[in-house]
Amino acid sequence: MANDPIHQFHIEPMLEFSVAGYDASFTNASLAMVGGAVLAALFFNWAMKPAAMVPGRAQVVAEGAYGFIHGMLKDAAGTEGVKKFLPFVFTLFLFIFMSNMLGMFPGVFGIHHIFTPTSQIVVTAALALLVFFTVIIVGFAKNGLKFFKLFAPSGVPIYILWFVIIIEVISFFSRPLSHAVRLWANILAGHILLKVFAGFVPALAGLGLVGILGASLPLAMTVALYGLEFLVAFLQAYVFAILTCIYLNDALHPGH
């Protein structure tokens, strides 16, 4: 069915092969991920090639993105965080941003649509678990057992401390869950919404002259929603990155 709003999330293998009995095919999702990463890398190499004192337009964009993440990480995790984690956070942000933005293309070069990798929970869960285990490993490597102070904020009266510790432990372990599901659910819901509204247009236009006039309403709504989805695509990449910064700050300074 052409109007099926779920069809855009179908994974179609493009190059089938398997590794040790597991299906490891190169799919349209892999293509979108590789495309996003390669495009980001190519753009930054190309934009920073002149490395001019007075930057051109592309260099302003590249430096602006870099400065944006730098400032965010510095606010959240201090100079030490910038020194250690700027490449990590910048890569995460760019990858998610490019995935979201490429997914906004309705279709090019005869491809029905471009797959949005962040609409698959396996992608966002892998990214969130990467952050989660980075926090744990760095936290223990840097602070040793003092990392457990993360669960016991200083200045809490002793008779409610046990309760605070329970809450802190639960909130710590629910972080990767909410981190992954937030990005996934926002992108998934947004894309389904777009396709549902777009599906109203041909359905109404098939009803004759009055229907064609009426179809302009969902068409305008689709255009407006597309604008909103571009905002969401940026905002969710930003939210993912800023939460990563805040979690990494816990690894560096667990004592609250």
């Binding site: 629910s174 909410s178 599901v181 937030r182 930003y238 800023i242």
Partner: protein
């Protein structure tokens, strides 16, 4: 009532949890605007805090969405 119907009703009820998240997110952005209108020069510096508060509040709505999705797709019918 069979288990399938119960799972669907439960999924619908779980979505009510998003009501709380919606109210919370509204309060956060409303209060941010309230403060930003009073002291516009201090507002840009608090953008990170705004987004963090929004993300943490939204997480609770996401948990209810997750329960709904688990009921729809994971619970055997």
């Amino acid at each position: 009532m069979d288990a399938t119907a119960a799972a669907y009703i439960g999924a619908g009820l779980a979505c009510l949890g998003m009501l709380g998240a919606a109210i919370g997110v509204g309060i956060i952005f409303g209060n941010f605007l309230n403060g930003a209108m009073r002291n516009p020069s201090a507002a840009p510096g608090q953008f990170g805090n705004l987004i963090f508060g929004f993300a943490v509040t939204e997480a609770l709505g996401i948990f209810s969405l997750l329960i709904a999705i688990l009921l729809l797709f994971v619970v055997p019918k």
